[in-house]
Amino acid sequence: MKYFGFIWKNAWRKKVRTSLTIMSVLVAFLLYALLSAIGYAFTSGANLADAERLVVIDKISLINPLPVSYGSRIATTPGVESVTHASWFGGYYQDPRNQMPQFPVEPREYFEMYPELKIPPEQLEAWANNRIGLVAGEELAAQFGWNIGDRIPLQATIWTKEDGGRTWEFDLEGVFSTDDPRGGTGYMLFHYDYFEEARAFGKGTVGWYILRIAGGANPVEVANAVDTQFANSPNETKTSTEQAFVESFSKQFGNIALIVTLILGAVFFTLLLVSGNTMAQSVRERISELAVLKTLGFPDRTVLAIVLSESILIMLIGGLLGLGIGWVVVQGLASTLGAFLPGLFLSPQAALAALGLIVAAGTAAGIFPALKAKRLSIVDALARG
């Protein structure tokens, strides 16, 4: 673009003003990156959910347990390829504030149901063979500095043991990771058998079931088939896709997307004001220069394009810098806060949308000054001198 040098020089005619404007743009897009990452975290479960997995919970309330006998009945429902279960342990490690999720599960079945979880085969074996074994997500293990072979005690807040104690002891047999950079690994898994045997009450129940539908089966039909089986029983079920299940939680927080959009709206409104003002000043102070361009033979629409490009260029510099810094910060936050708020992630869609925003904002800020430049009457402008 042969005009680039010209546009660049003009953009920097007042260095301080341009730098400050770029900084404003930078901050706006940094905020965009952070807020979109937070918004993403609230819906991340939904983004990762496998389309072929369904979740079965008690129809009245998630916190009501389901009979363990349901497992085999669900397995024989048409359209169900495999089924396993999990429960909520709800304990903490050392400090009551360290309450990360812990699930008693069927070891091998669970990892088969969640193939995105990766664990070295020998660790999986060791865990499967150790009743009081525990596997932890790599973020969790990193956070607490655990090593394989450590003895990890958990304090139960719900599930007291039959012997009256509340301390459950485990051996750390493995650390699992996920191959999806968006997924969190801030939780742990242990044996359902140990849980069932040692807990003081609630025996014969599980928290919820997870099933995989057979290839080609319709999720809605399978869900209905499962629920129909248990209709009118003491424990009616509600089956939904994993995605719907996770979404129902983030929805309960309130319309996070709306809040984020509103805040960003305020931020970008201000941004447009700042940049718009900068561009307006920039054009105002070089009316005669623009007139000279026209006398030299530059067509009106080229003059418009030059001014608009200047506005977009400024937005681009600030915007890319802001996004870049934002991306780095999100990475950092994701690794430190991973256990508390999993799924902090600047998605490619958000980055792409940001690019669109940059161009749109640059255009919006520059359009009126650009039109003014386009419509400039040479004779009047030169006469003004």
Binding site: K2, W12, L293, L296, G297, V379, A383
Partner: protein, 228 residues
């Protein structure tokens, strides 16, 4: 000699609210190729308007303007833009250089409208600068140049795309006597050695002496007979 530019029955009327201001009144003018014409007259006489019409910056209310065979009065704005870029060079009283560009880049500006590559543009700008004697100041910014030097850069810019017609509006108005003479000498060289047709508006009689002929403009009319 061929007529390069011709105005026939040209009037220019401005409407200011209810007032009708007639700046030029049924004017005829012929300018032969290679001419160096000075237009003199009191302020408000319409001489700048005349210059603007010749350069396609303005259109007559009635009458025709043709330059080099092109009928300017019937061309659209974008056609006029394009025509200007190859046919006319302007020189203003206050130089009107772009402060953010170096001398060389200022001179290259009209060439951005052509298909020339960057190396070629640079070369031609340097040639133009050497014609005006400023080859060694190519990388200086306007603020680093004296008034006379700035005007010379402006002249280089005006000739870089090799136009046939140069239009100057009070080119020495802001300069001291000595520098003004240098500039006017340069214009003469451009006229006599490079064959440029020059129309110069000035209120300075001494400047007018550098021209081949002088016409007076008053109240929108020309005094002194038109030479064909």
């Amino acid at each position: 000699m061929d007529i390069l530019a011709e105005l026939k029955g040209v009037s220019r009327v401005y409407q200011k609210g209810k007032e009708r201001v007639e700046v030029l009144h049924e004017l005829d003018l012929g300018i032969p190729e290679g001419d160096f014409l000075a237009l003199m007259g009191p302020s408000g006489s319409g001489k700048t308007t005349l210059l603007n019409l010749l350069g396609g910056l303005d259109k007559p209310t009635s009458g025709t303007v043709s330059v080099g065979g092109a009928e300017l009065s019937s061309m659209s704005n974008s056609q006029l833009s394009h025509w200007r870029s190859t046919n006319v060079g302007f020189i203003f009283q206050f130089y009107n250089l772009l402060p953010v560009l170096t001398a060389r880049k200022n001179v290259e500006l009209p060439l951005l409208l052509t298909k020339l590559g960057s190396a070629e543009r640079s070369k031609r700008a340097d040639i133009a600068l050497s014609i005006v004697g400023l080859a060694d100041r190519a990388k200086h910014y306007p603020r680093e140049l004296s008034g006379g030097q700035e005007q010379r850069v402006a002249i280089a810019r005006a000739v870089v795309s090799d136009p046939t017609l140069l239009l100057c509006d009070e080119p020495t108005g802001d300069l001291d006597r000595e520098t003004a003479d240098e500039i006017l000498t340069l214009l003469q060289i451009l006229n006599r050695e490079h064959g440029k047709t020059i129309v110069m508006v000035t209120h300075d009689a001494q400047a007018a002496e550098y021209a081949n002929r002088v016409l007076h403009v008053d109240k929108g009319k020309l005094e002194a007979r038109v030479e064909a």
